[in-house]
């Protein structure tokens, strides 16, 4: 068994206008079976993937927003959000969903792994990753 790698999924695109948001989520879900260390980073229009209240009935597309709320069960430990991207879009953390996380071995629980961060912390997160997926 090779060493555990630190995966970072870089999400920069809005949902629905293109398929990248959904298909990148599919990689995260499948990737859970591989037991790596996984974090997600939402920046630029990627922050829109996490907004509350998505209702796709009128555009006839599958609403996949509920899937984000389950990511704590799929081995994702941090869902980092770029503060500047939020602010330039007139959003705050209140506009975003909350995602709970629990470690089933240690019973450690976190109410919300969606974490708004500054650019310098994001640089470190990106720099520390072993693998960055871009979509």
């Amino acid at each position: 068994m090779s060493e555990i790698k630190n995966f970072l999924y870089l999400n920069r695109r809005a949902p629905y206008g293109t398929i990248y948001a959904w298909e990148s989520l599919e990689v995260v879900l499948i990737g859970a079976a591989f037991d790596q260390k996984v974090d997600l980073f939402f920046v630029d229009d990627g922050v829109y993937q996490l907004t509350k209240g998505q209702d796709t009935a009128g555009i006839g597309m599958k609403n996949f927003s509920a899937t984000y709320r389950t990511l704590g069960d799929y081995g994702v430990r941090h869902m980092y959000v770029d503060r500047q991207s939020l602010e330039s879009r007139g959003l705050t953390q209140n506009d975003l969903i909350q995602v709970a996380w629990e470690d089933f071995e240690t019973d450690e629980q976190v109410d919300n792994i969606v974490e708004v961060i500054e650019a310098d912390q994001a640089s470190e997160v990106l720099g520390a990753a072993d693998v960055v997926f871009s979509f």
Binding site: S2, K5, F7, I19, Y20, E23, E26, V27, I30, G31, A33, F34, Q36, V131, V132, F133, S134, F135
Partner: protein, 130 residues
């Protein structure tokens, strides 16, 4: 080094597949290994055998197939992305009741786990997209 190559866009529409090809070829010529080439999103369209590009331009699909043959590359098309976009092999045709196949024989259809595995097993993941 051992490389994993991810291609997110189809042939001709974007330069991604071209850049990925030239990069991969250069890497192989330098003696590096390519663990897998994984085609995702519209990138699955690089795996069709039915393109007829103009004679005076590059043949993107055939170029990948020739490189794959020369260096025994594992070229994988994501099954979920392929199903959405109609890239079909014999197995998929039978399973999903399709009356035709269109995949190029040098490509194989498989799951997203192949991309994750490639990222784990390789020294570098290269992503080419839009």
């Amino acid at each position: 080094m051992k490389l994993a190559i991810q291609i997110n866009e189809g042939p001709y529409q974007h330069q991604a597949s071209d850049t990925a090809y030239h990069f991969t070829k250069a890497a192989l010529e330098k003696g590096h290994q390519v663990f897998r080439v994984f085609f995702y999103h519209d990138g699955v369209n690089n795996g069709t055998r039915l393109t007829t590009p103009p004679q005076d331009d590059r043949n993107v699909v055939n170029r990948w197939a020739e490189l794959a043959e020369k260096y025994e590359l594992d070229m994988v098309v994501c099954v979920a992305a392929a199903q959405r976009r109609g890239l079909v092999d014999e197995g998929e045709a039978k399973r999903n009741g399709k009356d035709a196949t269109n995949i190029h024989p040098r490509f194989r259809i498989s799951g997203l786990g192949q991309l994750v595995e490639a990222a784990i097993q390789s020294d570098r993941l290269m992503v080419f997209g839009d």
